[in-house]
């Protein structure tokens, strides 16, 4: 009968731990297939310093949330389109953009938004307290749509020219549901 060394036993123990973790992971993933939707509530500061809480806005309009940063070029292209959506669908849609820049970029955010005359709501998430929940991969821009019932109806990472048409389609569909 073969005698296993301490190193070998440790190695097997490590492998077992890895496999257990993978099984737990698979189990968790399977658990999440059960149907259901709910948007996590959060609070942040607006660009003007006033307070914002998502639950205060839920159920009133369709909400479009966009995560962006001043260094992200595709994000800026999407912001322009989001401002158009904000102006065209003011009665139906609340456009909320969340800057993930750190506080050292606050002046850049302000001068960029004011300079472009964007009128949607701008929230600041300098320590990524909200971004790390909704967008842990941190790829930008990241968009999500919340319907009037408070459910997350759509998520998308990235921007390609013409993507705004897809957003408008989703908004139109949700506003008729």
């Amino acid at each position: 009968m073969e005698c296993w060394s301490v190193e070998k036993l440790e190695e097997i123990s490590k492998m077992k731990k890895s496999l257990i973790l993978i099984i737990v992971l698979v189990w968790l993933m399977a658990l999440f297939f059960i149907y259901g939707e709910l948007v996590p509530d959060f609070s942040l500061k607006k660009m003007d310093g006033s307070a914002f809480k998502l639950s205060d806005y839920l159920g009133k309009k369709i909400i479009v949330i966009d995560f962006w940063a001043t260094w992200c070029k595709p994000c800026k292209k999407l912001l322009k389109k989001l401002n158009e959506i904000h102006l065209d669908y003011k009665d139906k849609v609340e456009v909320i953009t969340i800057s993930t820049d750190d506080a050292s970029a606050f002046s850049k955010i302000e001068s960029y938004i004011k300079g472009k005359r964007y009128s949607f709501m701008v929230l600041l998430d300098p320590d990524s307290s909200v971004s790390r929940i909704f967008n842990p991969s941190e790829q930008l821009p990241f968009t999500l749509i919340i319907d009037k019932k408070g459910n997350i109806a759509y998520t998308h990472t990235g921007y390609m020219p013409g993507y705004e048409k897809e957003l408008i389609k989703k908004i139109e569909k949700l506003s008729h549901d």
């Binding site: 973790l21 149907y35 003007d48 001068s111 991969s137």
Partner: protein
Amino acid sequence: MTEKEKRLSKISILLLSVLFSIVLLLLTPGELKAFQLGDIGFYMTNETLFNYNRLADKKNQFYESLSIFSNYKKWSMGFTLRGNNFFKQSPNLTLENLEFDLYRKFLQYNSKHLKVTVGDFYSLLGRGLVLSVLKNEEVLRERTILGGNIHYNRGKIDLRVLGGQIKDETGLSYQEWTVAGGEASYEFVKNHSMGAHFSFIDDVGTDTQRNLGKRFTYSVSLRGNKLFKNISYYTEFAVLNFQDPTIETGYGFYSNITYSKSHFTGFLEFKRYKDFNNEMNNPPVADRIDEFSSLNDTTGVRLYVQYVFFEPDITMFFNIGSYTEYGEKGNHMYGGFNIEDVWDRLTLSLSYGIRDVLYPIKKLDGHLIYQFTDSWSVEMSITDKRYRDHLFIFKELDHSLQVSNSPYISVFVMHQYSHNKIIDLNHFFSGGIKVYLSGGTAIELSGGTIRGGQVCAGGQCFVVPPFKGVKFSLLQTFR
């Protein structure tokens, strides 16, 4: 366990995980759904990355990350389960074994005025002069504080205290420094506040190459907006004290003022840093990512002006800055324009910048997008960057072309040219495809050679190693 057995075990784990991701993908062609149990909600993101990296010591590289967030009334919690055998910051180094860890774990209580967090959190006090512990996605750096954070906000008063231990993503012991901090601000007139900020850092007892010991950084600030309707401003003055009397006391001063009216925006900034590096602070830098500002001895003044025509949408901008770093004086100038949505089809931008202070850089950026139809578009970009790092002069020229059918698919090719005296290889070719499925899944397959090099962003610089091989990534959001 023999080498062969070890290898087989590792391969089986890798295959199992990859297989799991593929099965998951096949089983969920529609929208991915999260779980809800009564008032308890869950939100989950899964990221899988596989590299076949020919420049790594071991070619097969794997990264799996599952982030889960849950909330119940005023309580929330989250964590990321991660299994990987390489770190994104150093892709040329593959670990001996797969490592599993739990990071970004936190428990939070959030009421109208009070937010209490226990676990991993990012933190930034003031504008980063006294403490800045944040991720820096551009330079692939992840740092958190493991400890507690209490934030109270009511009316005109805002208070925050925190404490814990610095955690680096790579888990290096020398980053496990003790840190504490806090800040208080008071709105003395509507839209105008004053604040006080402090941090304490202790690296004693850790394996640090440059042990600075215990240090205390404190600052006062003044900020406001809507002054005479169109002006906003921010000023902060900070002092850095070391317990070690042989290390000189440092100081930092940062101030800016923004004027914005109608088509015009002007931004004026002044900064002065002297012996001000506490290793955990990161004051504001200019908005060109190439800028690296030393905290040891820098004086800078900068003016940025922007004029926007709204019909057609044209933005023109110009920046001029004057800097003194370690007694060497120089300028940083850049300017350009951006024309968007010409005939609803064409977007064009061009900018050029020169920085001739300590690390001189010349950079040209050009970008063109043409939309053939509402969904089909072509994007071209060109970057010409020349910079000097110590004795070496680098020239980098990048061309990229991307064809997209929004929002489902994009195909891209890239050519990078690099000329320097260190490496022989001059031309790098790569390409790939990205597919977005309607249910919140993104798949990317890319390959080729990608030039490494120095990336600077947010006051931090990082040398990205070159890559040669194939990458596969899968990103899923469950909602």
